[in-house]
């Protein structure tokens, strides 16, 4: 038991140790290599770090509960883009234009509704057909992206609304709007996964789906709610991000699913399901952003960033594997 606890601690604390190591490394390395005069661990820079973690972070938090379920969602990038398109396009609808600033919350509502709907489509297919979520969302990743293109041809959808931008750029208590949304989402999801029936059921289903079915947990609707949740969060991420940027390209959000999954895995959530934590994912998201920022800070180029992030992902997997090994007498299968 003691050993197990210690390993558990290493696993859950690992990501924060990694973040600390990154901070130390980049601070020191930045001293020698950086062209910038600014210290890496400048408080303003750290606040920006949190803000910049938000777009992928909010999605990754939702991905955590999906992966605790033992599922995966590859379509989040496309949901992100389509929600953004709806957000910006709806602002130019005549009746919305007539509403003035009151149209803004409504536009948010439309965008979130879009995410919820797309999530529900995924969830419904997973529930009703019983097809593996990987395949379902691989398909809808293409399909939803097709919808993005259909909506506005191949043109970007734009609507620069300065009220919206000002809101998104605001800083309350030093934290940016996006950071508040990231933290808020994390708090809510932390609460859901650790304190609520739905959250505990998510673990139960990921751990042993048959057992959950036998115990009367309605697995299908449960999946559906989680897909709705991640659809909502992908849309929320889009809403927060595009409020500030005001224009979406039809290709935006591509590869976000891979980044979100990377963050979740770095945070210690198991792909097989049944194990993982919101706090870990938050750590994973921050670790990735820190890495990108840090490598930029010391002047590394694109190829190095790709190489390093890929290899770190594999290294983390390797370490995790070492930690879960039972020792020499383990069955060699």
């Amino acid at each position: 038991m003691a050993i197990e606890n210690r390993k558990d601690m290493i696993k859950q604390g690992g990501i924060w140790v990694f973040i600390l190591a990154e901070l130390i490394f980049f601070s020191m390395a930045g001293h020698y290599w950086s062209v910038s005069n600014q210290a890496f661990m400048d408080p303003g820079n750290m606040l920006l770090l949190l803000k910049q973690s938000a777009p992928i972070g909010i999605i990754a938090l939702g991905m955590t509960i999906i992966m605790i379920n033992g599922n995966i969602d590859l379509s989040v990038g496309a949901i992100f883009a389509l929600s953004a398109v709806v957000l910006l396009d709806s602002l130019s609808w005549p009746f919305m234009m007539a509403m003035g600033d009151w149209a803004l919350p409504l536009a948010w509502g439309f965008a979130l509704l879009t995410g919820v709907t797309l999530g529900a489509v995924n969830g419904l297919i997973v529930w009703k057909t019983g097809i593996d979520a990987f395949i379902v969302t691989l398909g809808s990743m293409l399909g939803f992206r097709g919808l993005v293109f259909m909506y506005n041809g191949e043109q970007p959808t734009s609507n620069l609304n300065w009220t919206l931008v000002d809101f998104a750029e605001a800083q309350v208590l030093g934290l940016h709007t996006a950071t508040w949304f990231l933290f808020g989402t994390a708090l809510v999801l932390w609460f859901v996964t650790t304190r609520t029936n739905h959250g505990r059921n998510a673990y139960a289903i990921g751990n042993n789906r048959d057992a959950a079915v036998n115990a009367g947990i309605r697995v299908g609707p449960h999946f559906m709610w989680n897909f709705i949740l991640i659809g909502f969060l992908a849309a929320l991420s889009a809403v927060v991000f595009y409020s500030e940027s005001g224009s979406v390209n039809p290709n935006d959000g591509m590869l976000y699913e891979l980044w979100a999954i990377t963050a979740v895995v770095l945070g210690g959530t198991k792909l097989a399901g049944g194990y993982g934590s919101i706090a870990g994912t938050l750590g994973g998201v921050i670790a990735i952003q820190l890495l990108r920022k840090g490598l930029g800070h010391i002047g590394a180029d694109t190829q190095t960033v790709n190489l390093v992030i890929g290899l770190i992902l594999i290294a983390v997997l390797f370490l995790d594997r070492q930690l879960t090994r039972k020792g020499k007498e383990e069955l060699k299968i």
Partner: protein, 316 residues
């Protein structure tokens, strides 16, 4: 709260060698997507080379990898690092405007390079340095039309277009220029189809293969850049279709070679080195308080088999 932080920032800045920074200017650049094609890579190299050659310039070179969110983050970082000027190669001509405004509000001049931002953002930038893509599109239409006239098919020719990556300003502008200009100069030429080739040679080749089967009669192909143009040329060659006039833009080395070989008719000569150097120079000029035109286009002339001797082969 804010003030103390700013003070703290000032302190750290002072500690880390502001003595040396007295004369030098720190210029940050965030590029669109280095490594996606040779143009952008050559641009980055030329930019770094130009910055290194200038002892007064300290360059922070970043790459957004085609991701808007990453580019916005990089702009924020550059503002945070209090650079003297920011050069942006936008991933999306509109999405960067709020970030540009923040740089503007922070008192940092912004130069947009290669592909312009939308008009709403013009208030916040000091200058645009790059090619005039609408004109490039128009010029391509003119090259095509002149060639058809030479061949005597200006009243019946059918053209297909392979555009750049959807949503990308350069692609949109070139297509716009071509679409508008072609009927003006050659009113009887039909543009039968347009499909995006995503700045990708392979994608473009596939699109062209489909065009060739779909349309028995194709006389001209306009591609958003030579990379795609060569993809289309490869497709036509593989299908054994001859006599098609290929016109591209952003003359790549492959395009130049194909022109020399007589397979490819014309293009627009645009040097990434000029592009990069112009952008850096614009930024430097602004910092030195010099007057720069708001739309600082560098010239991108027509190049065809007829006049290619006047141009050196592109290095990318």
């Amino acid at each position: 709260m804010k003030n103390t932080m700013k003070a703290a920032l000032a302190c750290t800045t002072a500690m880390f060698g502001s003595a040396a920074a007295a004369q030098t200017m720190t210029i940050g650049i965030t590029q669109n997507n280095v490594g996606v094609d040779s143009y952008q890579t050559t641009y980055e190299r030329a930019f770094i080379a130009a910055a290194e050659a200038n002892p007064d310039v300290n360059a922070i070179v970043l790459d957004a990898g085609g991701d808007v969110a990453r580019q916005l983050a990089q702009i924020e970082d550059l503002i945070q690092q209090q650079v003297d000027a920011i050069i942006i190669w936008p991933t999306n001509g509109e999405a960067v405007i709020p970030a540009v405004r923040r740089a503007h509000n922070a008192g940092i001049p912004v130069v947009v390079t290669n592909s312009n931002i939308a008009e709403q953002g013009f208030d916040f930038i000091s200058s645009f340095s790059g090619p005039d893509n609408v004109t490039q599109g128009s010029r391509a239409a003119e090259i095509m039309c002149e060639r058809f006239t030479e061949l005597g098919i200006e009243d019946e020719a059918r053209v297909v277009q392979i555009s750049g990556q959807p949503g990308y300003t350069t692609a949109i502008e070139r297509q716009q220029g071509f679409d508008e200009r072609l009927p003006e100069v050659c009113p009887n030429v039909t543009l039968v189809a347009t499909q995006p080739g995503d700045w990708n040679r392979e994608r473009s080749q596939q699109v062209m293969e489909a065009f060739l089967i779909q349309y028995d009669d194709i006389d001209g192909v306009y591609a958003g850049d030579d990379n795609m143009g060569i993809g289309a040329l490869n497709a036509a060659r593989a299908a054994g279709r001859e006599g098609i006039t290929f016109v591209g833009a952003t003359n790549f080395a492959v395009g130049y070679d194909a022109m020399e070989a007589g397979d490819y008719w014309g293009s627009i000569y645009q040097s990434p080195v000029d592009d990069a150097e112009a952008a850096l120079q614009t930024a430097i000029d602004i910092l030195n308080g010099e007057e720069v035109p708001f739309l600082n286009y560098f010239d991108t002339p027509k190049i065809t088999q007829d006049n290619m001797g006047d141009f050196t082969k592109p290095v990318f």
